[in-house]
């Protein structure tokens, strides 16, 4: 028995290792369609961006390797940091307001006391179905104090409202558009999370005589903490990538929204009107890293609290 075992064992070993070998290639085969596309549309562009970011191409003097010069420039570029600060401010003001409103709407609809909850749900969600470009154009028209809604209100009542597209208010006006667009979307995330809470918990709470607010605080909010974290992370990323709304409003409020209003707009104008592709790639990479770090930190913190 011992002899046969020792004879068989190596053979089995060889067989198993060769089949293991074959199996691993079969795996790659299944992975290939994804891997090829992933490499093509994700890895290659990132690699190329990194490659771009260590060169400098000048109108006079041509292309040359500059190492980390572009990064050094970006880290001390006041224009870039201004735009980062702007989206940072946008983030700390707009995101809490939007998520609070979304949470309120989700709780109201989930509460069961609202008449016509389905109608509310769909109408709050509807703005999300409007493309951002269309939404911004629409709001841009309403904000207009010459020929838009604000202008009409001023005319009708003989008053002079502050210009929503003036330099002082335009960031708030953008925040309003974004909030309008995304409250419904976030509401849906919260609402979905609320729906999966077992009914037995509510029954138990009712038996204990808990009030509706007590139920929200003790059951509903802790149960949707995960959804809250997710929504927050989406919103952080969305804020850092702010582009459509300011870029479209730029055409009606050129003097209030400059071409470096947000980091994405800065990268865009660097490459499309300045032909500074290298520096633009650098800005994009730095913003990508920054967003990743912040989103990851929020995720870690959110999860730790959940435990």
């Amino acid at each position: 028995m011992v002899a046969t075992g020792s004879v068989v064992a190596p053979a089995r070993k060889a067989a198993s290792s060769s089949s293991h070998y074959r199996r691993s290639w079969a795996g790659w085969g299944f992975l290939a369609p994804f891997a090829v596309i992933f490499a093509l549309v994700f890895l290659a562009p990132i690699a190329y961006s990194i490659y771009l970011s260590v060169y400098q191409d000048k109108l006079i003097g041509g292309n040359s390797f500059v190492g980390f010069d572009n990064y050094q420039q970006a880290l001390t570029d006041p224009v870039f940091w201004d735009s980062v600060r702007r989206v940072g401010l946008f983030l700390v003001v707009q995101v809490p307001i939007m998520l609070f409103l979304a949470l309120l709407a989700a709780l109201a609809i989930d509460g069961g006391r609202l008449y016509g909850a389905a109608l509310f749900r769909i109408s709050i969600f509807l703005p999300y179905a409007v493309p951002a470009v269309v939404a911004t154009l629409m709001w841009g028209f309403m904000y207009g104090n010459q020929f838009g809604l604000v202008g009409s209100i001023n005319d009708t009542f003989g008053i002079s409202l502050p210009d929503p597209l003036g330099p002082g208010l335009v960031l708030a006006s953008i925040g309003n558009i974004v909030t309008w667009e995304f409250v419904g979307y976030n509401m849906l995330i919260f609402y979905a999370a609320l729906r999966v809470i077992p009914v037995s918990l509510y029954e138990a709470a009712a038996i204990d005589g808990a009030s509706e607010f007590r139920i929200i605080r003790a059951i509903k909010l802790p149960a949707i903490r995960g959804a809250l974290v997710i929504a927050t992370i989406f919103s952080i990323i969305g804020s850092f990538q702010l582009f459509n709304e300011p870029n479209i409003l730029h055409y009606v409020a050129k003097n209030a929204i400059n071409t470096q209003y947000t980091p994405n707009m800065y990268a865009y104008s660097l490459s499309f009107s300045g032909q500074q592709y290298n520096y633009s790639a650098t800005i994009a990479i730095i913003m990508g890293l920054l967003t990743m770090v912040i989103a990851y930190t929020v995720q870690l913190r959110g999860m730790r609290k959940a435990l």
Partner: protein
Amino acid sequence: MITTPRRRLLRAAAVTAVAALALSACGGASDDGKSSNTGGAKDVAAALKKGGTITVWAWEPTLKAVAKDFEAEHPNVKVKLVNAGTGNDQYTALQNAVKAGKGVPDVAQIEYYALPQFSLAKSVADISSFGASGLDSTFTPGPWASVKQNNGIYGLPMDSGPMALFYNKEVFDKYKVAVPKTWDEYVTAAEKIHAANPKAYIANDIGDAGFTTSMIWQAGGQPFKVDGEKVSINLGDAGSKRFADTWQKLLDKKLLAPTASWSDGWYKGLGDGTIATLTLGAWMPANLESGVKAGAGKWRVAPMPQWEAGANATSENGGSSLAIPTASKNKALAYAFADYATAGKGAQTRVDAGAFPATTKQINSPEFVNKKSDYFGGQEINKVLAASAEDVVKGWSYLPFQVYANSIFNDTVGKAYVSKTTLADGLQDWQKKSVSYGDQQGFTVN
């Protein structure tokens, strides 16, 4: 948008990166005019005989008929007319094609203000040797000076935009305001009109780089000086100051409608008399006719207001040339077409279709000058416009990176329109940012 945060992030990174990838393409060096035919009027005649296909990038609508006529006259030649975008969009596409060394057109429409950017980078060829050097008296002085740089000729003028004052006569009559002959009178007229009707303004302006540079040009300023790779920018020179001081008065008293040009509100204002004047290039009448139907019969043209009473200085505003990219494989044939479209028979075809000519022959022809315009109440508007073409102030030049500089105009000078920043300070800021871009691009600035 319903994706995980990571995928959204990835997508963002990928989009940025792909954009960068597409933009800079392969980054291959452009071949500096190694194509076979590099000169000689004989080459042009030979190329016409031999025939072939050329690609033309242009957005000018009147070129369509010209291309057709050209093909009819030269049956072996095929002209592929492509609209690769208007203005900046086309320049971006052209720059990318040049960089990639692929898909470069044989002829490209390039506005005068953008031409230095291409000529300096040698993206467009010097066409003097093809016969352009013999066209001195063919074109009006303003556009001709715009295509000549560093002893070379980098394009053939296609149209021009000598400036004039377009005004709504009805408004001026109604409020009994005289049509201003100087810019000081213009400020006074602006006050009167706005006082008579708080909804009416003498003009709209929210900060426009093209307009501002044309005004400084007329005021005798030369803020941009270019000598090869040496560039000097001085937006505080006498001419710039002159403009800034006068225009600041209009801004301080809020006498300019905060309406963007070419917006719906703008067209509406031009029709209903709330925007009373336009100081623009001679290409404007066709746009008024098609865009502001309500203004028919109300508008008139007067010479541009002057900085000194009794003077007759004007400047150019807009207008484009046809240039031949260095990477074109068939420059001789391309030149033949550009010549036909701008100096040859095409010039007349285009004028008939409504373009404002850059050729002395068309601009001086009695048929053109004496043409009465119904839209302008039967006024012979071309008389005023043609006279303006003669009086363009000499010595102006644009920056070799004017396209970029104009793109940041509203970031800097624009502040004067919405905050306490003055125009003069805004111009200084514009200068500072333009200098720093120039330095970054390897020019020796100031």
